[in-house]
């Protein structure tokens, strides 16, 4: 966030899926959550938005906010559909395997055009990927903060153990 003009307007970059949605989630907070701002978008410049914040009326006030990161309250986000999850909710969940003793946590959610998949970082060893489907992730409990995974056989080995011999 930075200052724009002399009337207390600010320029900011949005990191919401639909950039304009940043102004639809109600009051935004700073990192500590103590200060709240109402944002109104006024226009765009290149990849930035020009907007005005409640209580910011001159450039000095806007300058003081330079570099401030604005956050949306988690409760302000609309409820996802039945089979949908916010990526932010999934990241950090504890991953427990049904059959083996492997456990870890969800590091990231990726999608490169062939279906979403989770990157899971086990307590020991390198992270691995797992398709985000009912078969491999049969249960998710956001309240308790864990998900159950069902690792396919031989998935964690770098060799070709599970399949037929190659070439």
């Amino acid at each position: 966030m930075g200052a724009h003009g002399v009337r207390g307007q600010i320029r900011l970059r949005s990191f919401t899926e639909e950039p304009e949605a940043i102004a639809r989630y109600g009051a935004l907070t700073d990192e500590s959550g103590n200060e709240k701002f109402d944002l109104k978008l006024r226009g765009t410049i290149k990849d930035h938005f020009i907007g005005s914040l409640s209580g910011v009326t001159d450039r000095n006030q806007a300058e003081a906010l330079r570099g401030t990161q604005l956050y949306v309250e988690r409760d302000a986000l609309p409820k996802p559909n039945k089979r949908e999850y916010y990526e932010a909710d999934l990241v950090g969940l504890e991953a427990r395997d049904r059959n083996t003793q492997i456990s870890g946590h969800v590091k990231a959610v990726h999608n490169y055009g062939a279906g979403p998949f989770l990157e899971i970082e086990p307590t020991k060893g390198d992270s691995f990927m797992l398709p985000f489907t009912d078969i491999y992730v049969p249960q998710i409990d956001l309240k308790e903060g864990y998900l159950i995974i069902d690792l396919p056989q031989g998935w964690l080995t770098k060799s070709n153990k599970a399949g037929a011999s190659s070439t």
Binding site: E17, E87, G113, D134, I135, V137, G163
Partner: protein
Amino acid sequence: MSRSVWKGPFVDGYLLKKAEKARGSTRNEIIKIWSRRSTILPQFVGLTFGVYNGNKFLPVSVTENMIGHKFGEFAPTRFFKAHSVADKKVEKTEGTGS
């Protein structure tokens, strides 16, 4: 220059065997492959492959829209670390396994 049509799509032979074997089995297996150059054929639809990107196996669930593309297109080897999106949603699919 594009590939001659009379040659047909290129697929590594072992991949066809693996896919056929996986279709027959009932286990939730992901087929590990190293052949990023192979074309995705109609008989692969519904299967899940783990395509090696030089470091890890990335899951590729084959759908109809992917026919004719190469496996490597869906398993990037380099990553651009962008700022995370605050309200991005992801949908859990039923999935078919293999």
